[in-house]
Amino acid sequence: MGFRGFVSVVVGPAVAAALIVGCGRSVDTASPTQSGMPPPSVEHLDPMTPPAAGEVGKVTWALYRQVLTLDPTFAYDYPESTVVSAMCESVLRQEPDGRIVPGLATLTYEDPRTLVLKVRPGATFWDGRPVTAEDVAWSLGRNLDPAVTSLFLPFFEVIDSMTPVDRSTLKIDLKHPDYEFEGELASNGAVVMEKAYSAGLGKSLGSPDGGIMCSGAYQLGDWNSEILSLVRDETYWGGDKAKAKEIDFVGVPDEATLLAGLRTGEISGTYTLELPSIDRLRSDSAVTVYEGPSYATSTFSVADLKGPLGNVKARRALSLAIDRRAYIEGGLAGSAIEPRTFANPGTWGYGRTVFAADWEARPEPEQDVAAARKLIDEAGAAGETLTIGTSAEIPQVATAANAVRAAAESIGLTVELESVPASRYVDFVSDPKAREGLDGLPTLPYPGSAEPANLYSFFVLPDGPNNFDGFVDPQMQRGLEEAQKTADPDARAELVAAVGDRFMDQLPAIPLALPRQQLVLNKELTGVPTSFVYLFAPWANGLGAAG
């Protein structure tokens, strides 16, 4: 995989903020200043570029590598997610600001454990056949079939049974109430495909041989080793047809090539993963660089709780000693904010006033080396060795690792960097054996929908994918369980924010920065989200010519 892919693990893209008001950043920051008020501590990023004025012909969109499969149950990494979400539709839909709204179906609750999905009237697949409850049940059920090997398997295990009531109504019984399941219904795991087309294809579903049958505004065109092209569906069921006639996706692993392609116009746009050279594009006349809300958190993940970071005071000390401002300026080209909470404000898909109030009440993280030294002494960890996993070949990882190293050394820890080639860095995340001997490493986790609880659960629950060394905190676990069964969004947000506060106190992982999503777009184009939502929901329907 290409270098920019690793960035995904790490520091990458995007960012932040939050949209309480949801207008342009410049506008919002300007007005409070004029009225003599201090600027709000949560920045407001517009999750959309301006609407398009007209149609365009062919658009070429860059991904960091080629797409390997279109099977939605494998749409987990950036390239597959970007393409699948452009042409397929999920049961529910994530809006550019993270809110969850009806997608192919509307959701009502018969009781807290019983969900009723009603397929929207007139919804059809590209071949004109209607989307039925049977198609929805089959598509969701694939996640639970071991032979399919869905990467979303654990997120759908809450389903107890699914029963089509009539042609367009599906009843889902859950094992226990789970309101966060709405987020999964708005993820790529809940993309609806046509059963009649797909069922016989077996493993070739989503491959160049088998293709795919979805319901979105673009359908699959040519797909070969060079390009994967989407052509607009002229009879799209869901309203206006797309403004771009064709989108060609190309895999561009090399950053210099990507830069050249964007500057010459051969590449029309791309969502980037913390491009180190973003500053050069900011000053280029051919493209506009947008910054939007992100779900991601640049993180120092704790890999070993038996080492120096096993003591919470040592983790607090390390966090306190990090010079985040320097890291954001130097490592992230200024495209991030400091983490008052572990979850990025871009993840506030509901209960925003609650989350914002929590954010306002929390202190801005300040570097305080003297206090950190005191803490590390109390922890009895001074002089111990901290081993940090890194890769000198991935600049984003290396800068993050160096920021942590500087902090650790400033409080009297001895630091060893274990640097591996780029292609091996991902093993640190996926393979416990590769992680052996490490105390921690830079990562870039993000939830699958705008739901901070989803992110927290990765680190806090026993089987969480980012819970590298059996971190246990009954209080946070209880909070997450409680939130899961709380229907009222604001009440749920209160519970989740409390978990977030405890997270910052216990630090099962140390947040480094909350990056912003970056979108690089040719000046002649507009009409797409600037936010992280491009991985999860149709983002290209409005892509068209700028005025």
């Binding site: 032979a147 654990p154 986790p445």
Partner: protein
């Protein structure tokens, strides 16, 4: 002749088998996992990860995978790429044309440009000779990836004359798209061939029989054609042939830099994904191409130098 061909075939098969074992061992030692490619390094839930490994037999180890591959190969099946979810044969078939065209294009540049410049410098002393010597000394030291970056920034971004990435479509489109990659791939080869050509021509020109022929009043042109070029052709052909053959291996770097979906780029990717069937399949093609290239050079050698008999060389 028949003996030569049969001998070559035996060498080819032996080399392919040996390389498949070496590659197998190398891939086994190298880190990586097809699953991490699919996840992009985003943490996967342990349950999903385990299920995936079971389904793809990744827990069986590479030896089992190699055995599956070998038995398939004997039945004429190159196997299935886990990561691309595609048969290796069709994955190669899709990527072979670009690599072949790129290598042939670059080979043409090396043959024409390298030999041409070398002859020019070798036959005419003076400022042109000095310029070529200096220029090729610099060019020989420029690796393909650096040449690619410079060419893209000058001719694509700066001047806007040629496209920076992709392979294009149609004859004209393909040509346009391959000019810069071929130039980047050929650059150091042109320089090497030019320098060898120049030296060979010089050496031959200074030989006694050449001076004798000139002294006996033979025309300059005739001497160059008959005595200088004919003899210099042998080292020139060999170096040119080997240089061009080695492009097969160097193409990977240039393909990546220009986002060309060729065999080389796919091989690098497959190796880091531990996609064993694809690695073996592509390596098979590259090793075969390399050996065929060398065989062509040998044939030319025999043709240029009558003292060399092909049958004898094969023994």
């Amino acid at each position: 002749m028949l003996r030569f061909v049969l001998g070559r075939l035996a060498i080819l098969l032996g080399a392919l088998f040996a390389s498949s074992i070496i590659i197998f061992l190398a891939v086994q030692i190298a880190p990586g996992d097809p699953v991490t490619t699919l996840s992009g390094g985003r943490s996967l839930p342990p349950a999903a990860l385990e299920n995936l490994r079971d389904q793809y037999h990744l827990n069986e180890g590479l030896l089992a995978q190699y055995w599956h591959w070998m038995t398939g190969l004997i039945h004429g099946d190159l196997g299935h790429s886990i990561v691309l979810n595609q048969s290796v044969a069709s994955a190669i078939a899709e990527r072979l044309p670009v690599t072949l065209e790129l290598v042939l294009f670059a080979g043409f540049l090396i043959a024409v440009g390298g030999i041409g410049l070398g002859l020019l410098a070798g036959l005419r002393r003076g400022i042109l000779d000095d310029a070529i010597v200096l220029g090729t000394a610099v060019a020989a030291a420029i690796p393909g990836f650096l040449a690619a970056v410079v060419l893209i920034s000058v001719f694509s971004v700066g001047l806007g004359w040629l496209p920076a990435l992709g392979a294009g479509s149609g004859v004209v489109g393909r040509f346009e798209h391959l000019v810069l990659p071929a130039a980047a791939l050929a650059l150091s080869g042109v320089a090497v061939v030019a320098r060898i050509t120049r030296v060979s021509v010089r050496e031959e020109s200074e030989k006694e029989h050449v001076e004798t022929a000139l002294a006996r009043g033979m025309s300059n042109q005739k001497v160059i054609r008959r005595h200088v070029l004919r003899n210099a052709a042998i080292p020139i052909t060999i170096v040119t042939g080997i240089t061009i053959t080695s492009l097969v291996a160097l193409a990977a770097v240039v393909e990546t830099a220009f986002s060309l979906q060729g065999l080389g780029a796919a091989l690098v990717q497959a190796a880091s994904d531990k996609d064993i069937a694809l690695v073996q399949g592509i390596a098979l093609v590259l090793v075969a191409a390399f050996l065929i290239g060398n065989t062509v050079v040998d044939l030319l050698y025999g043709f240029l130098d009558p003292r060399v008999s092909l049958g004898a060389r094969a023994e």
